[in-house]
Symmetry: C2
Subunit: 367 residues, 2 copies
């Protein structure tokens, strides 16, 4: 049985449903990032109230603390964090390859030192999948090699080939009952490489495919171009996931190209730094003009933050470093992102996705 | 009309109702501390879910940031923090007198330097009441002089006399519509002084009376002795408030003596430091034995923290410094304190308060 059901298209944009052990996920969908078994500042009840249907957990972080064995003993990640809906876990590849000076690569895997205490650890495709099986996520990502933005051609080619070999090993490894496995397409911003690698990974039999190694420093226009060119060539019968991307504009560009799933720390991280998403762009709550503004962050938003609290109050909480600020700001920004994807889905099903994008992007340009 | 209605007694312990502009408050009651227009880590919906009926705000902190004028312009403290139930504000006296090296006292008031930026400010009885009127609290506290624990007799006597003069000025100052005013009884741990000052303050016509300057470093037994001796001599027709106290044991001792209202940062501050209140005493979530404990913090508790999350998960959040920890721990500890006072009220009304105390204190001794 396929994990994906297509329910509508509008141009290249798609509306669908991903079936997981922990319920269906309507797409396009934004997945809040819960790095350390917590979407920062939010409880599972908060996520439920936001209408989140799938969140992301980080294999690298969870394996280091509290440890995959502990989470398995505690009944898996869902039970540990009291989240009854779907979870996608990454493979740790992206984090491990970000530890430039702290890791050594060989054909079998990567040895690295923890950013927490410097202790030595090792990830291989089998170990990354074992950890994800221990966590019990609904969707496990294959262990891949992520070359840095602007890597030389030889490094790109080597990373693609190794990622393909590791993808096959990831598929052969253990998984938890009903766990879906997604492969990751690398290839930088070179279309020929992207397409070649897509063909390799698409042939392995994954339940879904992801574009990795994008949104890592290249100009947005370049990234949009790669996504627009490559996504329509990804298998239509499987979910398509653009990893770690991005701004609302990036997400609409991805949806327009046929991407179904997104994750990014931007809404949660920006919230904590004072940047709040509004239809006209973003506002910086630290700005003096908000100090006496009795309006909510977004007058059209019905999240708990906007329903009850003023910009003036949020500005006070932010300046006073009150813990409540982080939760309210995170709730608002995630609501903005979740609504963006939900609005796109509704627009696709009603054949007005182009207008939806134009309205949203115009607002963004006016910010 | 009296602000207080007595609905039952059990020995010296009382059950009553304080009537405020923002609704009735059943006593004995614990008031969560919302220093900077926020009970740390909690939203107003969280406080509502906990069943809080009155919270405390700090005049000193709010006057410095964001400023009483700003809060008044934003519709008052209730609207600013979206809390529709009762608020008691202190007068700032306790905080100002804690700034030992940063303040100078004269008969008219106190000049002090802000702990935030060193800027110069002044509080007088009239200014403290004006700020509380601007905040629009339901209960305003008179501006008092708080001598340090163990102050010499001459300093105690001077502080008592000045507190009486300032109390009269506080009562003559402006208030917001329907705002109740409570006087503060000083006198250290000397019963003769306490009783003399009580007689002075009780004669001024306040809506309620508070015992100040206790729980400031003296041994608990000494404090309990003062409270037990003085409280029964406080006017029975008005609410009685023991300021800034204390442990669950202190609160039960206060209730046994006839105190109606309590506030303390202990449940909220201890939560953030890892100390969680349980019937058997407290547990330190940082302790290694909780790392793999699948039980909730308190198996008899139905708060959001205990209903959904394990000690193991909380220990992980605490070690990882995840923001969610602070909210869940605060919810649990406040629930423990609110339930303690609610349980005492029920026990008083059923004539079993002594047994309630014994059960609770026995559990505490076994911790």
């Amino acid at each position: 049985m396929s994990a994906f059901r297509l329910v509508g298209t509008d141009g290249a944009a798609r509306a669908g449903v991903v079936s997981t052990v922990h319920g269906p996920v309507e797409t396009p969908v934004f997945m809040p990032v819960g790095t350390q078994a917590s979407v920062k500042a939010l409880s599972s009840a908060d996520l439920e109230a936001l209408g989140a249907r799938i969140i992301l957990g980080n294999t690298y972080h969870l394996a280091l603390r509290p440890g995959a064995d502990l989470i398995r003993e505690q009944g898996g990640l869902h039970r540990f964090m009291a989240w009854p809906r779907a979870i996608l876990t990454d493979s740790g590849g992206f984090q491990v390859f970000s530890l430039r000076e702290r890791r050594t690569l060989d054909e079998d895997g990567v040895t690295f030192r923890s950013h927490l205490d410097g202790s030595a650890h090792r990830l291989t495709p089998e170990r990354a999948m074992q950890i994800q099986a221990d966590l019990g996520s609904d969707i496990a990502m294959a262990f891949d090699e992520c070359p840095p933005s602007g890597a030389p051609d030889a490094e790109l080619d080597g990373a693609m080939a190794r990622t393909t070999r590791w993808a096959a090993r990831s598929l052969a490894a253990q998984r938890s009952p009903g766990q879906l496995r997604f492969g990751i397409v690398q290839g930088g911003v070179d279309l020929k490489r992207r397409r070649a690698h897509l063909a390799e990974i698409a042939g392995l039999g994954f339940d879904g495919l992801a574009l990795g190694g994008l949104g890592v420093g290249e100009p947005p226009e370049v990234m949009h171009g790669v996504v627009a060119a490559v996504t329509p060539q990804m298998p239509a019968a499987a979910p398509r996931y653009l990893m770690g991307v991005g701004t609302p504009r990036d997400i609409l560009a991805g949806i327009a190209a046929g991407i179904d799933m997104f994750d990014c720390v931007m809404p949660t991280r920006n919230a904590r730094n004072g940047q709040l998403f509004v239809p006209g762009g973003r506002l910086n709550i630290a700005n003096a003009r908000h100090r006496r503004d009795a309006r909510p962050v977004d007058e059209g938003c019905t999240c708990e933050c906007c329903a009850s609290y003023s910009r003036s109050y949020l500005a006070h909480l932010f300046h006073a470093r009150e813990l409540l600020y982080y939760r309210l700001a995170t709730i608002h920004n995630l609501r903005h992102y979740l609504d963006l994807a939900r609005g796109a889905r509704a627009a696709i099903l009603e054949g007005r996705f182009t207008a939806y994008c134009a309205d949203t992007l115009d607002a963004d340009l006016n910010a």
